[in-house]
Amino acid sequence: MSKKLVNAIADMREEEALKLVREMVKGGSDPLQILDAAREAMTIVGRRYEEGTYFLPELMLAGELLSQITDIVKPELAKMPEVKRYGKVVIGTVKGDIHDIGKNIVSFMLDVNGFEVLDLGVDVSPQKFVEAIRDFQPQVVGLSGFLTLAFDTMKETVEAIQTAGLRDKVKIMIGGGQVTDKICEYTGADAYGKDAMAGVSLARKWLGVK
């Protein structure tokens, strides 16, 4: 049953997957087992995205599926299980920029790949990033931005982190439509990712996750 569910999710058969989940819940299956299957499917989805067989529609649908399944299973659980996390990431779209599609996808992919993500949303000031780093103590910070103005606000954000004395506590990655190596160098970030999985790879590398 679990295997069937993993495949239904990974192969984007939404109706079948949800039907299976409902049947499993009704049949008294361990809800944790259902969540494990969903998580296993997400790993497959991530791998297919990385290999270039899946694209954004599949990530969007996978995200929908995961939240629908969680909603079905949640009432059956006393509390949501603790998931083993490799590390913490603070992410947000920098000041002045309200684009969030790319950022949301990176956030989602980091989450399903075992990182605890604090998503600060859009138009996030350097100060807000600094405060979040102090409170949440992430190892990785992700700055997103789509507009040319973001080059400067990313730089400002990196500088604010530096001034706050937190620069050596975090690795900083940036991303967005117009971002290149050159922009990365300009902002003072450690690296840039060209898509969501590149962001996951960077976080993995920095945290020594295989």
Binding site: M12, E14, T53, I98, L147, T148
Partner: protein, 447 residues
């Protein structure tokens, strides 16, 4: 019966109109000097020759197609550019006269701030309304069309826009929800029933807002259009005739949103396909209509969700390209020159889009591998762009010059190239923008 013009004749008529430009009263345009008149003609023909790919222009044309750069460069905030129409137009004129591109695209980017306020536009945040004064307006993506509304859109796209979509994205257009079904207005018997809504306060309120918005738009276009006219008399043409969109982006950008359309690809693919087919003739009509209204042949088609990484090849071929191709061919049929903008990277799409009719289109290239674009699409179409935002912001003038020189010697050596920025930019080092224009003039002369 009047003889139907062929697509080529329609286009040629538009070009001739641009070349023998009239002032708003319909009289021949009075140029500031014979030199300005000569330069104007040369600039238009330079673009025309580059696009048509039949003979080489005198040199590689160059243009700057920014979003807010002219105003940020002048030290204005975007907010000022959006609210002070006169200053917006004046600054834009100065920008064109200083940088001297062959053609410009008008001062339309900021748009009339007050107008958006009157109509309570919700689709965007703009300076003072969710965005800081110095930043550009930005789209608030959402599900403005619900997943169960495809049938309504397919059956009657215009009716759907009027009764459902517009009231959702403009707070002041709530009264449109009550407007009658216009094709039902047929005979004397009962005809007055259709007009009852116009007597009701919500509809009347909406129309009051519309009168006010219309007056504001007129004031704005007076200033902005005035800049076009003044620049023409100084020898700088604007040949942009309007814009339209790929049906996939119409639904994905502003109706269902990125997530909505991507879920629909799995949940209701046939409805999505049908809706795009229903929108296709409307998108053609939109482009052809505005080319006729403005008298300018180029129709800009910004392309978003077809870029590399968004969809698989199969999905691109099934969902994105067929209706976009129809729009492109329909625009050509209507005597326009489509200018699709390949925003971001399109390396994986080139083999699919390359077979367009030769010399009838112009493609804006952002960061795609320009050599590959030249070998595929570039065989049939003139390319414009490829000077990246990163280079304009952070490069040196020498780097920009080298890049432009290289573009001219590789991509442009047999024609079919226009030097331009690759993506819309609000900020750049001005000396880099200047270097881009100057390098094209220096290295681009065909011997």
């Amino acid at each position: 019966m009047e003889k139907q013009l062929s697509p080529d004749e329609k286009l040629e008529a538009l070009w001739q109109g641009v070349l023998s430009k009239k002032d708003p009263q319909g009289n021949p345009l009075q140029f500031q000097s014979p030199e300005a008149e000569k330069a104007y003609r040369e600039r238009v023909l330079r673009f025309k020759d580059a696009i048509e790919m039949k003979k080489l222009p005198d040199r590689v044309p160059v243009t700057v197609f920014p979003s807010m750069f002219p105003w940020t460069y002048a030290g204005m905030t975007v907010q000022e550019a959006m609210y002070d129409y006169g200053k917006c137009a004046e600054v834009f004129q100065k920008f064109v006269l200083e940088f001297e591109p062959d053609v410009h695209w008008g001062a339309y980017a900021p748009g009339p701030g007050k107008f958006y306020e009157i109509l309570d536009y919700k689709l965007y945040s703009w300076p003072g309304h969710g965005v800081a004064p110095e930043y550009s307006y930005q789209c608030n993506e959402g599900e403005y069309m619900k997943p169960e509304e495809y049938d309504a859109l397919i059956q009657d796209p215009s009716g759907y826009f009027i009764n459902v979509y517009l009231p959702r994205v403009f707070g002041a257009l709530g009264g449109f929800q009550m407007l009658p079904f216009f094709p039902g207005i047929l005979e004397m018997y009962g005809v007055a029933l259709n007009f009852i809504p116009f007597g009701l306060p919500p509809v009347q309120g909406t129309f009051k807002a519309l009168f006010e918005a219309g007056a504001e738009a007129l004031q704005w276009i007076g200033a902005i259009g005035g800049a076009d006219g003044a620049l023409a008399t100084l020898g700088f043409p604007n040949i942009l005739g309007g814009f339209t969109k790929a049906p996939f982006d119409v639904i994905g950008d502003t109706l269902r949103g990125t997530k909505g359309i991507m879920l629909d690809m799995y949940r209701q693919p046939n409805k999505l396909l049908k809706a795009m087919e229903a929108l296709t003739p409307l998108m053609i009509k939109m482009g052809v209509g505005s080319a006729q209204a403005t008298g300018n042949p180029i129709i800009f088609v910004p392309l978003h969700k077809g870029a590399d990484g968004f969809l698989s090849d199969e999905q691109f071929k099934k969902f994105y390209w067929p209706t976009l191709k129809e729009v492109i061919l329909g625009l050509i049929e209507g005597g326009c020159i489509p200018l699709p903008a390949l925003e971001g990277f399109w390396n994986t799409r080139l083999e699919v889009v390359k077979d367009v009719p030769k010399g009838k289109t112009l493609w804006m290239v952002d960061q795609s591998d320009i050599a590959r674009v030249k070998k595929t699409l570039g065989k049939n179409a003139c390319l414009l762009g490829n000077v990246s935002s990163a280079m304009l912001n952070l490069g040196t003038p020498q780097e920009v010059r080298d890049h432009v020189k290289n573009l001219i010697h590789t991509v442009g050596k047999d024609g079919g190239l226009i030097i331009c920025n690759g993506a819309f930019f609000d900020h750049a080092r001005p000396e880099n923008v200047k270097a881009m224009v100057d390098a094209a003039k220096e290295y681009g002369v065909y011997k």
